[in-house]
Symmetry: D2
């Protein structure tokens, strides 16, 4: 896997904050400095960029910073989850907010073009609800689908991807699982909307990440892949393989079967760690696991799988992983 490259989320290099450490886990870090830090990690070739950038930072500034650090743009991710969109973006109860989401999406398409990004990503983390009886589910669904469908129709030559997640910050998100999202996308009648499958999101959505990845790919809707880890109940965004090494191996084995041509993206939140270290540790783990995956004897594994023979499959995988 010598040709494997990696992308990162710009957020991994910025200041992390949460509801307790409201003064942040470190000092503020601007867009351009975060790009520089991403470059300095030494392992990334491309970035997932939140948009808007910091006030006063232009697309040209970003392009230059990326070039300076040998980075390209995988995608633009419009920030449809900050205060303005705290109660939803495309599915907000407020038409003006829905329009603001559309406007920001359109703007993001322009930025994506300017930066040669492969796609525009929507992570509708505020599109959902928190309480029983809070919303009419049919209306929520309609708004959530129509908003993204409209953007997709406006830019038929642009690729869009939705990153699904079961919860957080809302207790329940509309774009919750691979299957829920695929079902909704199918109803759009467009062919330029797909999914980002995030290993960690899949894990705490109680999916098997490898199976979700394959399902998405088999429907022609796989746009990007993100890696991280957690304890199966929340989006802890730990370094890759920190906890679920076997399922990460199976995920990477599946990536290998798909001949995935793009960089693998890391989705990390190093609250208390150096982001460069977190990236390097994740990349080293992925590289090691991809080497292990390459050692699994395919014919024998397929034979075992054809028989649903768990013990033989375990033995083959263990030998590749631990011997």
């Amino acid at each position: 896997m010598s040709t494997r490259t990696f992308a990162g989320g710009l957020w991994s290099f910025g200041r992390v904050i949460d509801r307790y450490a409201t003064d942040g886990y470190g000092p503020p870090i601007g867009t351009l400095r975060a790009i520089e830090l991403a470059g300095l990690s030494g392992e990334l070739t491309a970035l997932d960029l939140n948009y808007p950038f910091d006030e006063g930072v232009t697309v040209n500034d970003v392009r230059k910073a990326l070039a300076d650090h040998g980075l390209t743009t995988t995608n633009i991710t419009p920030v449809i989850y900050d205060r303005r969109f705290r109660s939803g973006s495309f599915s907000s109860a407020d038409p003006a907010t829905r329009q603001a989401a559309l406007d920001l999406a359109h703007e993001s398409v322009e930025v994506a073009r300017d930066l040669d990004a492969r796609y525009v990503k929507f992570w509708p983390g505020q599109d959902g609800y928190d309480y029983p009886f809070q919303v009419d589910y049919a209306t929520l669904r309609r708004h959530a689908i129509e908003g993204i469908r409209d953007v997709a129709r406006n830019f038929p030559e642009v690729t869009f991807a939705i990153e699904y997640k079961l919860k957080e910050p809302r207790n329940r998100l509309f774009w919750s699982t691979a299957a829920t999202s695929l079902l909704a996308i199918e109803s759009m009648g467009v062919d330029n909307v797909g999914l980002v499958v995030d290993f960690g999101h899949s894990l705490f959505a109680k999916e098997n990440p490898a199976e979700a990845l394959l399902l998405t790919h088999s429907m022609g809707r796989l746009v990007d892949i993100e890696l991280d880890d957690n304890y199966r109940e929340w989006d802890d965004d730990l370094t890759v393989g920190a906890v679920h090494l076997v399922e990460t191996l199976e995920f990477l084995y599946t990536v290998r079967q798909l001949d995935w041509p793009h960089p693998l993206k890391l989705d990390l939140f190093p609250y208390r760690e150096d982001p460069g270290e977190a990236v390097r540790e994740s990349v080293a783990t992925i590289r090691a696991l991809e080497n292990k995956a390459a050692r699994i004897p395919l014919d024998r594994l397929r034979e075992a799988q054809a028989a649903h023979d768990a013990m033989t499959a375990q033995r083959l995988v263990r030998a590749a992983l631990l011997d």
Copy 2:
């Protein structure tokens, strides 16, 4: 809701057994005695019948027993999850087992006709896997879908329903969530296959049951509804409302919006309780909650929901439920 009627699963009245109390939680109870006990509960008008019946018990015996106790048949549920199918039914690795599942399905259609059942239910509880790398997900999916599609095509005038469940007895089941199942059903190209939405299954699949119910109905795939309760991690099959009263209320409120014309079915496993008591307690709770649901002021709730106004929705629901 004076016209509301209730159905039950025959299993609730039989002997429960598990991996620890391998001598059962009570003495063996035959098919006909279980029907009698169901009738004696005093609250059921119809039953979900596992098939095959006990050895020596004929369809005529069952018909007579049902009639004797004023019961009809909601559906036949072929036992595609016992020892013979321990590694899968329609998706077994073994072609002979897949054929056995088809054969039993066909037989069940005949029994369903004989007993005037509304539908045939598949609960493919052994169709899945337990270990990472154990199966090829594409093959599993193909088998799982093709088996039921073939049955459905053979009997285009019969209604079939799949009861999805995230896990148990397999650690991971193919028919895991509403969305996963709907996506698979849509790919069948048949219109006589739908879903049974079980409140408890939905809960521990990390769905919101009311939302899953509505999604299934909106796609024209809602065949039946089952109620029970649990602690969100496992299919505990407690009496209705024992733990999640608010979400049960929202579920029943949704049932009411749908003008659901069929009996509500109970899916209980009273390991240590008298099944008649468990049924009566569940029915009393449902009746009370349906009365509460009828007290929610629809216009004001819809107005609150249109604004995603959680606090007003909470207030209206609390007033209806607790005042």
Copy 3:
């Protein structure tokens, strides 16, 4: 329960922020304004106050603001979980940070005295770890226990309470469950340290909150009680009874058995809701449930419980709650 009073956390009235809406779910709100908002909620008689206050706000300012709004102080909660303590307070790897935690604790004792607070609360939300192999558990345990023990010994006439929580913001916290915390407190050899049992924390720690409350009380370690709700996997801090009404009823029934003499405290994070509304909705629900709890026939329930008779207990509770 006409004499029941309620306390609140000051944080419920401040600006909530998280890792996505880094610009906050609303505008900044200062200490004194938050106190005013707490008073305006109309339902609180006392507050849990984070310390330090905003820069420039003195204890006298706070005392006056409280008095102006008819509020007293239940307790002071030193902020041992912000950036300075991001990797732990009493159990930090850094001796200077451990000392800073001690210093802040001592300062908080003075503030608590000045404001006539009943106790000082430690919520060591950063005291734990995130990754396997990250810490030596024995050392972590020793530091966590020694720090609070030392404070308690320095102020033998002051009451201290630890609010346990399974996780967040660390993936794993040392003070994780009631039993873990009681075991650690017992090893301190002091009698002025106890626990705050938070209903929601208990729920997602997979405890039964009523049982945890009783256990803590039976060991003479119950210092305070907090209420809220969540979906059993995370500290969602929803309004009381929003999801788990039955377990909240059992919790309040237990509070009643204990003749709890203090205000019940609300621990809410109304990200997108008006905090006053969230408080009033929670109080109204508690009041309604306390009335329901008073209707449960004690003798008959105790008789059922003596027989472990779940169905009779369910019937009695349902009658009290829903009839």
Copy 4:
């Protein structure tokens, strides 16, 4: 770790049954045949034996069968969780059932002596409750503690161990977590009762297994160690390391620090797998992981842990595990 030996639970070699495959996952297998199969696995030196044995099988028969297959007895586990004890053993509401548990415990002590077992294990899997309001928690606690305390006092020279578990078959068990159990044991005032720490039980109790192991050991209460794996919500009893390889490594690393002198016990339920294969696969994984654990540079890891330095710890562990 060439001297490492392994024990197994006899149940792993018997017929597994559950509430769906009520005809079992295979044919019935008697006590003596199960012992034979355990021996034939080729990896076990000792067994955890459920008692009573099959009807007609004497202690002498068992002793002979063990000897024939080169096996010894780690412990006797009285079956206090079958139909007779379906609503509890030591904590049953029924005094006669509590007495029956005591009687069986006493009988088990005799059998343990006859078979030179190191200890008697209680797994009170029916001692708990299922519904809110079902039991009085103080009474349940008193009975649960007194029963085992009485047995321990009657046989002060015998070692007893409790295997804690959060749930199953009861929805909530009294002996739920390490800390809960240690707290209860401390209150007994005896020194011959300790715990069995089961990796899988610890995992779905939301503990960190290595931390729970160390806590138990540090209090002088660690009697035995069991290994298996699951998906963090249920006692799936998968082969060791099948899912949670990193935490299993940390657990075995901790075992190594303790210089644990006894065989490591496997607690597997190979529903659909050959038990011999499941044992061999588990043992091979443990051996591989113990070799990896031995490669971790202790000084450098301890230094990283002293600084709570997650990234360095990750790097050291990854190097040992995957390089």
